[in-house]
Symmetry: C2
Subunit: 262 residues, 2 copies
């Protein structure tokens, strides 16, 4: 099977123009089929403040009310997405900016109201993905660039970018050897959280369980590792956690970040 890179970037890349520029240059240079998923960054909060839209939290979880939904649809689906696409086009990368609504690429279900009403949030599974159209877009040498938005019942919905990346990776793992790359603020998963160079280069299942038994992982990284193994369990070949500035290495054999495999 052909290789496919699915790469997620968040605020720590989007909010730093020089980091973003280097990342987009490196991303455009990847020869294999590839998909980019982006989060939001500070710009949504900034524009929300200008418009007098307040962020609402319940028990520390952000609530997407109607005004916030319009805000993220504008800022993530419009401003951030199209600026990324225009810059990638300049780098001769035939980017195509999409949300889950476009071409019905990801159809969600609105999160049911239980103890908390999260508002306009879309829950998704790998079955939510229009794999046929996505495969066709990749075959046309276009590069899908996903904003973290889905849809259901005539509405746009807010969906976590990490979840979109994982779900697309699983859905396309029947057609490609997928390497799912999460760019975050460290070089990789660290053996010692106080030593930024103590990156675990290759984490396989046995080592993972050994380190898990020793309680060797920092709390913050555990959900990411659990998600990584869930994706691998569901068919994704490799998950990589690393720094956006190491993208060239992390799309090669000798990775700088943490390559997670079965």
């Amino acid at each position: 099977m052909n290789k496919l890179y699915i790469i997620k970037i968040g605020g720590n890349v989007l909010d730093n123009p020089s980091v973003l520029e280097k990342f987009l240059f490196d991303f455009a240079s990847i020869k294999e089929p590839k998909i980019l998923i982006h989060g939001g960054g500070k710009i949504a909060t900034h524009i929300g403040n200008q418009m007098g839209i307040e962020s609402n939290y319940v028990n520390g979880r952000r609530i997407t009310d109607a005004a916030t939904l319009d805000l993220v649809t504008m800022v993530y689906g419009g401003l951030v997405n199209k600026q990324l696409v225009a810059k990638l086009q300049q780098g001769n990368c035939n980017a195509m900016g999409v949300t889950g609504a476009d071409g019905n690429l990801i159809k969600a279900t609105k999160r049911p109201v239980k103890e908390i009403n999260y508002g306009f949030v879309g829950d998704i599974t790998p079955h939510s993905v229009n794999t046929a159209l996505l495969y066709f877009l990749l075959k046309q040498n276009t590069v899908p660039v996903f904003a973290p938005l889905t849809h259901a019942d005539g509405m746009m919905l807010n969906t976590n970018a990490d979840t979109i990346a994982s779900v697309i990776a699983v859905a396309l793992s029947k057609h490609f050897d997928v390497r799912l790359i999460f760019c975050f603020e460290k070089k990789g998963v660290l053996r010692d959280v106080n030593q930024s160079e103590s990156v675990i280069r290759h984490l396989h299942r046995n080592l993972y369980e050994e380190l898990l038994g020793k309680q060797a992982f920092a709390d913050g990284i555990l959900p990411k590792l659990e998600n990584a193994y869930a994706a691998i369990q569901a068919g994704v070949k490799e998950v990589l956690i690393g720094d956006a500035s190491d993208l060239i290495h992390n799309t090669g054999h000798e990775t700088e970040g943490t390559l997670i495999t079965i």
Copy 2:
């Protein structure tokens, strides 16, 4: 050749929820391949006011400065475009929201600065259109929905929605029998501007020149008719000017609006 409908809507449809709802229902029901191009409407001005972005005009022409470009990229490319797409998806129409940057569908040149600096405005011709990708999207039964934005040199650019509709119509006229439909505030081109029911149902070149000689057209309609004949000259089979609420009739044989042909 197969029929293709290319339909442009502006503020008078977008700003009226009940008109828009009926239009989208009718649009979704069209069986043939189709493309929608939308303008902006009042929402951009409204959000611009909230954000303290002022509209700049020079000699009555709007100037797209950097803040306005970000505004229209957000509002047209994000909010308006994705809300239309989500609603069409609900109507089982596989809409795919795009700008000219996406898939390099329309590559513009930034308008040169002469007497007036129009700012971030993109000029386009039928050669600007990535006809191959657009044709493939139509073949996949997706329905492109264009926001009035193009790109050049890593930037988004503001481009008139009527111009985008015309340019796409000409570019695709090699592959399809194109009917290009402009929805506006009247039922069609009127013989007597004071009589709203005096619609000219079929305007062919001889009648056009005869009425032109008699100075029978109202000033406002003349540029639209000139553009229509320029599109027909360049290969578009038919141009229709009519009311959005007559869409079902205007995509059939017995049109309510003005059908313009050679």
